[in-house]
């Protein structure tokens, strides 16, 4: 195994290792094209994941040590919604003659098809249904995932030149053996959609339906009759989706029973809260015993449970409580207790199956017992999340490419997460609660299937992105460190320590305020994000812009992105350059613009108590003071560098500069001309 790279915990936890920090910082910069590009590099379904991902990233976010995790999925959705229609295709470098068949057009199959098409293969997708998207299209209600969102991403994938054959079912219309005559490799991703039934008396009664079938019917526009009282059995996403769908179909008395507690529930906490807000009752520690009724189900006898020892799933096993049975009246019962692959699809395939009916694969590559046939997604793992299915699709595409090109197997790289923040650091980080995701009010939700979450506005998204602690993007110490220990003494978080030869900064704890870098006398500290070189390039770009826009008096301004999340408008001829905390501005960055011919430099700054990092503004003030002294000594004059306070009219600064005339450095240049 390769030496693992250490990455932010969100990235390590994501099954496809999305560079979350990368796209969140792109959102901070307002560069949404970059944000979506980072997502699309690993994920053809950013709009889908931005809405329904189970978010393993958020559950490990280190911001939760301070207050609440970053709303990572909501930011992905924002980037994706704001860049609709943006085509970011890198055409394949080679085209190959081999043809690959993908069976199943769910997220796993379509992701594999997408990646294989981009690698240069001819891909055909076979889908049993008449629509593409699998469970995304039919298993998730529109109030969580609108169909046009799925369609748009599916259409984009197809636009890569992928052929789709719908209405064809494996085992019924074609076999793997036949496909292998025309295709050099097959990826099997038919999912896991057959519902399990509890072994209870009365299960055959009408009015007892499965959640997947129910959701499929609704997604096709059918409106099955449910009656007033509905009982949903299960604790996963599908159970919650089914219950909330029932509410929208007019049933008023909906109860979910789940045999464990909220803590063990596979459904997301927020979804559970939403369901409860909308009026769904949830009875935890409750299991069905039997169903009764006169042809149609009328009553469900239930039993109370308690949690016993930990079972093989790692959760505490529910155990029935004696003499605790009770009845719940129900006109319809919806089962959402588990799924297995459809047995008819696979029974004559020649594939080795487990006793649950899932396909057994040799290893992580997804190779099956049949040469050239690979499997992945829910058909192998049993029902998991969309993001796991996408990950399986990505692995499959890579494996198939290696198989067809006879390349060696990929060394598996499992990135390691940065360790948790030390308490001593956590204590010093300013709290900032998560931006609420705007939603349709509960009373307006139940009449239709309109999407409940409305997504962030631009300023909400940037504010939320700014909560990111930018794990691991802070200070790197170079070997020319003189071990002066200045960083050790000035770090507001106490992270640097004296090492044997040079100062050591634990990047897993560094908060990336940049104060040490701006004060390091050896210029030996650089920041991973917004490096010194990046800063110079951005400055040059801004000066060029200022020259184009206001050739007479050139003014550039620096501002703190944390103070002004969506930036300052370039007005009165001032071109603004944002910094991730203005405390990162060193003295050189304040005087160098004058050497480049700028006539004035404005610094928009916040009060120290507002500083995102404890001391940024205080250090900025000392840098400005030192820069002003140098400007006076040179003969440029300290007045050309000025602090613009929040709300101050920038045109006053411009007027003062106009009175001063052009920068004497430029005058010298002009005289020479």
């Amino acid at each position: 195994m390769k030496l693992a790279e250490t990455v932010p915990p969100c990235q390590a936890a994501c099954p496809i290792h999305t560079d979350v920090r990368g796209y969140v910082t792109a959102i901070i910069r307002g560069d949404l094209d970059e944000a979506i590009k980072i997502n699309r590099q690993v994920n053809p379904f950013p709009s889908v994941c931005g809405r329904i991902c189970t978010r393993p990233c958020e559950s490990v976010c280190r911001r939760a040590q301070v207050d609440e995790p970053i709303a990572i999925a909501a930011l992905k959705r924002f980037a994706s919604d704001q860049t609709k229609g943006l085509k970011l295709i890198q055409p394949p470098q080679h085209y190959y003659d081999e043809r690959v068949a993908v069976i199943g057009a769910g997220p796993a199959g379509l992701t594999a098809a997408h990646d294989l098409a981009l690698l240069g293969y001819k891909v055909t997708v076979f889908e049993e249904q008449n629509v593409l998207g699998g469970m995304l299209m039919e298993g998730i209600p529109e109030y969580r995932l609108p169909k046009d969102v799925v369609n748009e991403e599916v259409d984009f994938i197809l636009s890569l030149g992928i052929e789709a054959k719908t209405g064809l079912s494996l085992g019924r219309d074609f076999s793997i053996e036949e496909l292998l005559k025309d295709y050099q490799a097959i990826f099997l991703a038919v999912g896991s959609q057959k519902s399990l039934f509890p072994k209870c008396k009365g299960i055959e009664l009408s009015g007892i339906i499965t959640a997947v079938e129910f959701l499929k019917q609704v997604s096709r526009g059918q409106r099955p009759f449910l009656g007033k009282r509905v009982l949903v059995i299960g604790g996963g996403h599908t159970a919650i989706d089914a219950a909330r769908t029932c509410l929208r179909l007019g049933s008023s008395d909906i109860t979910i029973i789940y045999r464990r507690t909220l803590d063990e529930m596979p459904a997301g906490r927020e979804e559970v809260e939403d369901a409860e807000k909308e009026g769904v009752n949830i009875r935890y520690l409750t299991a069905p015993v039997d169903f009764s009724g006169n042809g149609n189900v009328q009553k469900v006898r239930c039993i109370k449970m308690r949690l016993g020892e930990i079972d093989e799933s790692g959760r505490r096993r529910p155990v029935p409580v004696e003499d605790s049975e009770f009845e719940i009246k129900a006109d319809t019962v919806i089962l959402a207790i588990g799924y297995i692959p459809e047995p008819d699809t696979l029974k004559d395939s020649g594939l080795i199956l487990s006793k649950n009916g899932t396909v057994i694969v040799k290893d992580e590559t997804g190779a099956t017992n049949l040469k050239g046939v690979f499997a992945g997604g829910d058909v192998v793992s049993g029902p998991l999340s969309v993001i796991e299915a996408i990950a399986a699709g990505r692995r499959a595409a890579d494996t198939i490419h290696r198989y067809l090109r006879t390349l060696p197997a990929k060394e598996v790289e499992k990135p390691l997460p940065f360790r948790p923040l030390d308490d001593s650091v956590v204590r010093l980080i300013n709290k900032s609660m998560r931006q609420k995701i705007p939603t349709i009010p509960v009373e307006k939700r139940l009449n239709d299937f309109n999407e409940v979450d409305m997504g962030y506005s631009w300023s909400e998204a940037v504010k939320e992105a700014q909560r990111c602690l930018l794990c691991g993007s802070g200070a790197l110490v170079a070997e020319n460190c003189a071990a002066c220990l200045n960083c050790v003494r000035i770090c507001p978080y106490g992270v640097p320590v004296p090492g044997r030869e040079i100062a050591e900064i634990d990047i897993s704890q560094c908060q990336a305020c940049g104060i040490c870098a701006s004060e390091c006398p050896a210029s030996a500290i650089n920041l991973k994000l917004e490096t010194r070189e990046d800063g110079h390039a951005a400055l040059q770009k801004m000066i060029d812009k200022a020259r184009r826009e206001a050739p007479e008096i050139l003014i550039i301004g620096y501002y703190c992105r944390y103070k002004v999340p969506t930036g300052l408008p370039d007005e009165s001829g001032i071109c603004w350059l944002g910094k991730l905390c203005a405390g990162r501005l060193d003295v050189f960055q304040l005087i160098y613009p004058f050497e480049l011919g700028v006539d004035g430099v404005a610094v928009h700054m916040c009060k120290n108590e507002e500083c995102r990092f404890r001391d940024g503004s205080r250090w900025l003030l000392t840098h400005i003071e030192r820069a002003k002294k140098i400007l006076d000594e040179i003969g440029i004059g300290a007045d050309r560098l000025d602090i613009i306070s929040d709300g101050e009219d920038v045109s006053d600064f411009r007027k003062r500069l106009e009175a001063l005339g052009i920068n004497p450095v430029r005058k010298g240049e002009k005289a020479k001309e």
């Binding site: 040179i634 003969g635 240049e669």
Partner: protein, 219 residues
């Protein structure tokens, strides 16, 4: 550590008025540690000089380099060829570094950008204090580890003088009387008896001094 501070900008500018092409040479050890002559200061001074000269209509080309130490010829040799392209070298090292560079580079004028101030220790962030006079005959064993030669305004070795008041020096009320400090520290160490011994007049060194490590020299 040697502590130095940068000369006033006007003085540096004046020193360089007749040169058109100057290399500013930083030193990566003591003067970097005391935040005076490292890479960052080189960058700032270079930019300031270029601008000041442009304003005067007398442009100057300024090169920027920092080496680990200017008191060792081997490090200076690292920039020998580069240095040959310049009219002068502006050294941001201590006086020792300036002289080391001047001697090694021979035909190129080497000018000091710094005033070398003292041998000192850190006294909190951004502050250094003189503690050693490099007298060549250390008496710290008898003075509780506090040097009266460097830290007494009169360099008395049998102090205090009569001007010490409330623990402060009569020369400057900002400075503590070092003999008061010595007394307090020896008291703490239970070594006050050292104060009963009269220190004999020191043999002051004859300049310039030279240190020879016989073992190493012979190899």
């Amino acid at each position: 550590m040697i502590v130095a501070e940068i000369k006033p900008f006007g003085e540096i500018k004046d020193m360089l008025k007749d040169y058109k092409k100057v290399l500013i040479l930083g030193c990566g050890t003591c003067v970097t540690v005391c935040l005076s002559g490292g890479e960052r200061q080189v960058e700032l001074l270079a930019s300031a000089l270029r601008m000041a000269r442009k304003i005067e209509g007398n442009e100057i080309t300024v090169g920027e380099r920092t080496i680990l130490r200017q008191c060792d010829p081997e490090f200076i040799d690292q920039i020998k060829y580069e240095a040959a392209q310049y009219d002068a070298i502006l050294s941001m090292a201590c006086g020792a570094g300036v002289q080391g560079t001047a001697e090694r580079l021979g035909s190129i004028p080497v000018l000091p950008a710094m005033n070398t101030t003292f041998i000192g220790v850190s006294d909190g962030q951004g502050t250094w204090v003189e503690v050693c006079a490099a007298c060549g005959a250390c008496i710290l064993a008898k003075t509780g580890g506090i040097c009266p030669v460097a830290r007494c305004a009169k360099s008395l070795i049998n102090g205090p003088c009569g001007g010490s008041q409330d623990g402060k020096c009569e020369v400057s009320k900002d400075n503590p009387c070092v003999w008061q400090q010595i007394y307090a520290h020896l008291l703490k160490l239970n070594m006050l008896h050292f104060l009963r011994e009269m220190s004999q007049p020191k043999t002051w060194p004859v300049h310039p001094r030279r240190l020879v490590k016989e073992q190493t020299k012979g190899v």
